[in-house]
């Protein structure tokens, strides 16, 4: 299907159309921007850099009930089928991240909780025009208008949006929008193209990643890891806010006579993450944990899935309280003589 154009006066109508499904857009919750369900179309504002919490929080919520039960009972009450969702305003890096998480959750055995939600969700991307200072998506095969993982990509042209349907879901949406949209003109497409170009040029932080997986294997015992992790506080800011991190814990929780088994986000940066009940910890210090995090993203994941589990969104750099900078680590890895 060809690109469409949505003028801003029709935007309200478009949001209303999307609201037929459960619509999530970036909104302020407390002090930070994250994807949250919309109750009125006035809440929708697509002027933002990027959400602090990535959209994975909708498809892989921080806390998710696996099943419920009653105290002393043996019957497991399974959750209902997920409702259909639309995520509006997903940045291309985050959409790419979802394709990475997809690989893990449909690897070997499907994870029904994630996969069912993912299938039921339409991702409407929004091309970046003002990348953040720590964005480095272009180094990882993405870009401000990358289309991977997106069903429908929006580019803000000022007076309206250029809509590029990329999948059947995207095309269906455009069809449903019908009258609200007009065919995009060639100049609209060109304008979008050059906006994408401009945005890509604004990204100054770069890294050559090709040699990294190999280098990491060689640097296993390098003092680099100690140096990097000395300052690490061992918090979960980098992993919880990473759009590709997907580790979780499973916990039983009781409220009175009712109980549930649920999964909650977990972080490989936490000490308890690998702690055996015997007291033995195969990753006893922040050094091993930092090393694992970097290796997992740039080496193990490549071995298992053929891709780096990082999209260059820059969140871990923005949010690290002690300025542990993944690009800095990677450039040290690249530079490090074996």
């Amino acid at each position: 299907m060809d690109s469409k154009k949505l003028t801003k006066d029709k935007f309200g109508g478009f949001v209303e159309l999307l609201s037929k499904q459960k619509l999530y857009v970036p909104q302020m919750v407390g002090e930070t921007l994250r994807f949250a369900p919309v109750s009125s179309k006035d809440e929708v504002d697509l002027v933002f850099s990027n959400t602090v919490v990535p959209p994975k929080s909708v498809l892989f919520p921080q806390t998710e009930t696996l099943y419920e039960y009653e105290a002393g009972g043996t019957e497991l009450i399974m959750p209902e089928e997920p409702e259909e969702k639309v995520l509006l305003g997903v940045r291309p890096c985050d959409a790419r991240a979802l394709t990475i998480v997809d690989k893990l959750f449909s690897w070997d055995i499907d994870d029904p909780y994630y996969v069912n939600k993912r299938e039921n969700t339409t991702i409407i991307g929004l091309a970046c025009q003002e990348p953040g200072i720590n964005c480095f998506c272009t180094s990882l095969g993405g870009g401000p208008a990358s289309t991977e993982g997106i069903d429908l990509l929006l580019t803000d042209l000022g007076e309206g949006y250029l809509l590029q349907p990329l999948t059947e879901k995207g095309e269906k949406l455009c069809q449903d929008a019908g009258e609200l949209l007009v065919e995009a003109a060639g100049e609209d497409r060109q304008a979008a193209e050059s906006l994408h170009q401009e945005a890509a040029e604004k990204i100054v932080r770069k890294i050559e990643v090709d040699t990294i997986p190999q280098k990491l294997e060689e640097l296993w015992e390098s003092p680099l890891w100690k140096n990097i992790s000395d300052a690490c506080l061992g918090c979960g800011a980098c992993t919880f806010l990473c759009p590709t991190c997907h580790c979780f814990d499973i916990q039983d929780e009781m409220e009175g006579f009712e109980g549930r088994r649920c999964r909650v986000w977990d972080s490989c940066m936490f000490e308890e993450y690998t702690l055996h009940t015997s007291g033995h910890n195969p990753r006893p210090t922040r050094r091993e944990r930092t090393r694992n995090r970097v290796n997992h993203k740039y080496s193990y994941f490549v071995k298992n899935f053929g891709t780096i589990a990082c999209v260059g969104c820059g969140r871990c750099i923005d949010n690290c309280p002690v300025n542990i900078d993944i690009l800095d680590i990677l450039s040290q890895v690249v530079k490090e003589a074996i």
Binding site: V29, N227, G234, Q251, E272, T285, P321, N323, D325
Partner: protein, 327 residues
């Protein structure tokens, strides 16, 4: 006044000492206004050291953060000192750790850096957005001198001063083995205007305020891990038996987590502001701590982190402690 040459020289001498394991100071970060803790073991690492209005991190956290690994049989544990650069507020953390025996006096070598107040990272990044290359900032008279890539800017001190510094009463280290330069005059009067503002609201308004904050917490534990006073090897709030807080993320568990943490810091928090600074979700956690600090100071006439010989607040009482709340 800040004397970087002296700072580097002292650092070089210090790490050269036989009884010092390593030194923790600050260095320029990888971008913009960020700085990073700098761990140095060799004199040549001193070149990277800085001390500027950007040095907000409280490095005292690292005294208790380092893991105590099993010592192989036949070997002696490394009991050499850790050398630490401290501002006034940071030094109170060291004192408080001494009070509660988290560290021993001879396990630390304290290098005092009298401080004129640090920058509020959020404010400065908002004022000068999109600055990628590392920025150098200096103290001027009642102003910050900010050397941006496209020229130097001067900003009045009050505009960019970190919240915790606005009313600082302890800009000079209260404990040190060496003081790097002369002490500065304290400017704060210890008012708790921010706390009073919230106190003035009614109960329902206060809950409305806190509800959305607690709801947005992602429980990354950065607040706890950055806190120089949170150093239990096994936090009670992490434990499964008894389980005080469930791992699931919701308003109930998050609120209880923050209440319990704030309570555990009562009479211990030295108001370095790290919990609030490191919170990726921007929770005003210092407000909780400052509320309790206010009560502890005003109603119990106690201030933590000043005298290493003092009794910890939570393990002492006075027969005439306030009790107007008792039925």
């Amino acid at each position: 006044m800040v004397d970087l040459e002296k700072l580097k020289n002292v650092a070089k001498e210090t790490v050269s000492r036989e009884d010092v394991k390593y030194l923790v100071g600050w260095r320029q970060g990888t971008y913009g206004f960020r700085v990073s803790p700098h761990f140095m073991t060799k004199p040549e690492d001193a070149d990277k050291l800085i001390f500027s209005p950007l040095c907000v991190n409280n490095l005292a956290t690292y005294l208790t953060l380092a893991e105590k690994l099993p010592v192989p049989r036949g070997e002696e544990p490394d009991t050499r000192k850790v050398a630490l650069m401290v501002k006034g507020c940071d030094s109170r953390a060291v004192v408080q750790q001494l009070i509660e025996k988290g560290i021993e006096r001879d396990s630390v070598y304290v290098i005092g850096c009298p401080c004129q107040g640090v920058l509020d990272l959020e404010k400065v990044e908002e004022k000068f957005p999109g600055v990628q290359s590392p920025v150098d900032v200096q103290w001027g008279d009642d102003k910050f001198i900010i050397n941006l890539p496209d020229g130097t800017q001067e900003v009045p001190r009050e505009e960019l001063l970190a919240q915790k510094c606005l009313n600082c009463r302890y800009p000079n280290p209260v404990i040190s083995d060496v003081m790097l330069w002369e002490e500065v005059e304290a400017w704060g009067n210890g008012e708790y205007a921010d706390v009073k503002e919230l106190e003035a609201m009614d109960s329902q308004e206060r809950w409305t305020f806190w509800q959305e904050k607690f709801a947005s917490c992602i429980r990354c534990y950065a607040c706890r891990n950055a806190c120089p006073m949170c150093y239990c090897e096994d936090c009670v709030l992490d434990r499964l038996n008894p389980q005080w807080v469930f791992r699931s993320n919701n308003i109930s568990e998050n609120t209880v987590f923050h209440l319990a943490r704030a309570f555990h810091l009562a009479g211990r928090c030295i108001e370095c502001g790290e919990c609030e600074r490191v919170c990726p979700m921007g929770l005003p956690l210092m407000s909780l701590n400052r509320k309790l600090a206010k009560e502890v100071r005003e109603k119990y006439a106690f201030e933590p982190g000043l005298d290493p010989e003092s009794k910890p607040f939570q393990s002492s009482y006075r027969p005439d402690d306030q009790e107007d709340f008792i039925l």
